[in-house]
Amino acid sequence: MKRPEVQLGRLRLRNPVLGASGCTGHGYELASYTDLSRYGAVSLKTVTPLPRVGNPPQRVCEVPSGVLNSIGLQNPGRDAFFAQIMPRVLECLDRDQIIVSVGGDKVEDYVELCRAVEERFGTRIAALELNAACPNVSHGAGFYSRDPEAAAALVAAVRNAVDLPVLVKFNTNFPNYLEVAQAIEQAGADALYTTNTPLGMKIDWRTRQLVLGNGRGPICGPAIRPIGVLRTWELYEHVNLPIIASGGICTWEDALEYILAGASAVGIGSAQFVYPDAASRLEQDLDAYLHREGLESIQPLVGAAHKS
C-alpha cells in the first residue's frame, strides 16, 4: 500500500502522524510497545541549554476526559541530551522521523542550542521544533506565544542561524494568537505546530488543597479537542503555513476532524499514556480510511470542511 507522505514547508514526512513532544518520551521508551516505523516523526521531549529539574509533585491528575499535567520541562540539559539521549534516539528512529524540540528563555538560548544541534546532528535529524508554547515555566516559553514581535524575532534569529527546517510550536490560548501565527509565518517558519492546552486547576475538596504541586497546569486529552479543532480552523483561515495540530487526538476519526479543519499533520499526545501504540494504530487506521476513499494522501482533505 502506498504510504501517504506529507510536505510541511521544507520538511517531508513519511506520513502525517507525529508523536507530540512531552508525550512520546524519546521514542525508544515505546520501542517494545509499538511499531516506531509507523510514526511520521517523533518530536522528542524538549531540551533546554541547562538541566531543568521540573515542577514539584503532584504532577498529573485525572480530570473529566483528560489529564491535568505540570511537568515543567524536566530534562537533563544539552550536554546529557547529546551524550546520552541522542545516541539511543538515532538507534531507534530513522533520520526523517527525528524532530528535536528546543526550549529556552532568551532568543540567544534557542539560537545557540539550535546551532549546536545542527552542528552535531544536522545530517541525522529531520527538523528542529521551537517550543514557544510550554505554559509550565515561569519565564520564557509562553512569552513567545503572547507577543507577535517576540515570536517573529525568535523565529527569524533561528532561521538565520540554521539550515534545518524549523517548526514552531506555539500556544493558542492568548487572544492575539492569530496575529502571533502571522508573525511566525512572516519570519520564515516551515510549519506551525498548534498546542491547544488551556490551563486548568484541580482542588481536592477533602484536603482543601490544590492537587498539582505547581497549582495550575495545562489540560490535555479529549476534553480539549473541540477547542483545538476551532483553533486549527481559525489558523487555516489566517495563515498559509502548513499546520500540525494536536489536542486530544486519540483515534483516526479525531485526526480526520483536525485535517478537515485545516491540519496537514497531527500530533498524538496523551492518548499514548493510555495506549502506548496509539499513534501507530491511528496511522494504520487513517491509512485504511484513505484506501477506502481511494485517496493517495490526506492532501485533498486538508481544510476540506471550509468549502462547504
Binding site: 509533585p57 498529573v60 511537568i71 486519540c250 499514556f273
Partner: protein, 252 residues
C-alpha cells in the same frame, strides 16, 4: 494485552482480591512489580490507566490484584463480572530484590501496602528464608486473610503508626533485609529504624501516574544520589527504592 477476570474474592468490606488469567503477566511478574489496567474500553472515563501492584501469581497462567476500593477507578472495578476482559500493560517497574546473604527478611506493610509484599513473601518462603511480617494498623488486620500462606509467616501487628517504631526495634534484631510498602509516614519510620540498625531496606513508593512506562515524567519522586537530590520516575526507576535514597519531604 487482555486479561480475563476469573475470580472475585471479597476479603473485607472494602478490599477485594481479583484473579485474572493472563499468561504473559503471570509468567513474567516479579515481586513488587505492578500492572496498568485500563478500566474502561477505548478512551472512556476514567481516561488514564490505573497502576495496581501485583499481589500474587502462579507463575504460569494467573495473577491476582488485592485492591482497596477508594476512588472512581477502583469503584468501577467492583461491577466487573467473572469473565470480564480488561486491557492490561505489564508487568511494570523494578520490584524487590534480595540475595543469598538475606536469610531473615522483615516485611513491613501499612494497610493495603500489603499487596506488593505478598509475592515477595511467597518467593522468600519458597527459597527457604525466614519471613516475618509486621502489619499496621491492627484494626485493619482482616486484610491478612488475603494471604494464602499466612500460617507460614511470623506475623506481628502494630497498634498504629505511632507504635510502629517500638515494635520495629525488637523485630529488626537479626533481620538481614527489610521490605516495606504503605503510607509514606510508615515508610519513613521503617527506613529510619532500619538505617539505625544497619539493616538495608527497600521501599515500594507510590505516586499518581499517567503512562506507567516512563514517557510522561508525571510520577516524580525525590531521590538522593551521591549526596545530590534529583527527580526519578516511580514507574520506571521504581516503584522500589532503597530506604537510604528516598528523600522524604525534600525537593531538588
Amino acid at each position: 494485552m487482555r486479561a480475563t477476570l476469573l475470580e472475585i474474592r471479597p476479603i473485607t468490606g472494602r478490599d477485594i482480591c481479583y484473579v485474572f488469567r493472563c499468561p504473559q503477566v503471570a509468567a513474567a511478574a516479579r515481586p513488587g512489580q505492578f500492572v496498568e489496567l485500563k478500566l474502561t474500553e477505548g478512551y472512556q472515563t476514567p481516561f488514564l490507566r490505573r497502576p495496581i501492584s501485583i499481589f500474587d501469581t502462579d507463575g504460569q497462567e494467573t495473577f491476582s490484584l488485592l485492591v482497596r476500593t477508594v476512588g472512581e477507578g477502583t469503584t468501577a472495578m467492583m461491577v466487573w463480572p467473572v469473565g470480564h476482559s480488561v486491557d492490561v500493560l505489564g508487568p511494570l517497574g523494578n520490584g524487590f530484590t534480595w540475595n543469598d546473604h538475606h536469610q531473615t527478611c522483615l516485611l513491613v506493610a501499612g494497610g493495603i501496602g500489603l499487596a506488593p509484599l505478598a509475592l515477595s513473601a511467597r518467593r522468600l518462603l519458597e527459597e527457604g528464608k525466614r519471613v516475618r511480617l509486621l502489619f499496621s494498623p491492627r484494626r485493619d488486620q482482616a486484610l491478612l486473610e488475603a494471604l494464602p500462606f499466612q500460617d507460614r509467616l511470623e506475623v506481628a501487628t502494630s497498634e498504629n503508626r505511632a507504635a510502629l517504631a517500638t515494635t520495629l526495634e525488637s523485630l529488626l534484631e537479626g533481620t538481614d533485609l527489610l521490605l516495606a510498602c504503605g503510607p509514606e509516614g510508615l515508610l519513613e519510620t521503617a527506613a529510619r529504624c532500619a538505617m539505625a540498625h544497619g539493616v538495608p531496606s527497600q521501599l515500594s513508593m507510590e505516586r499518581r501516574m499517567a503512562c506507567g512506562i516512563g514517557i510522561c515524567l508525571g510520577c516524580a519522586i525525590t531521590i538522593r544520589t551521591n549526596g545530590e537530590l534529583t527527580y526519578k520516575k516511580v514507574c520506571k526507576d521504581g516503584p522500589v527504592f532503597s530506604g537510604e535514597e528516598v528523600a522524604f519531604h525534600e525537593t531538588p
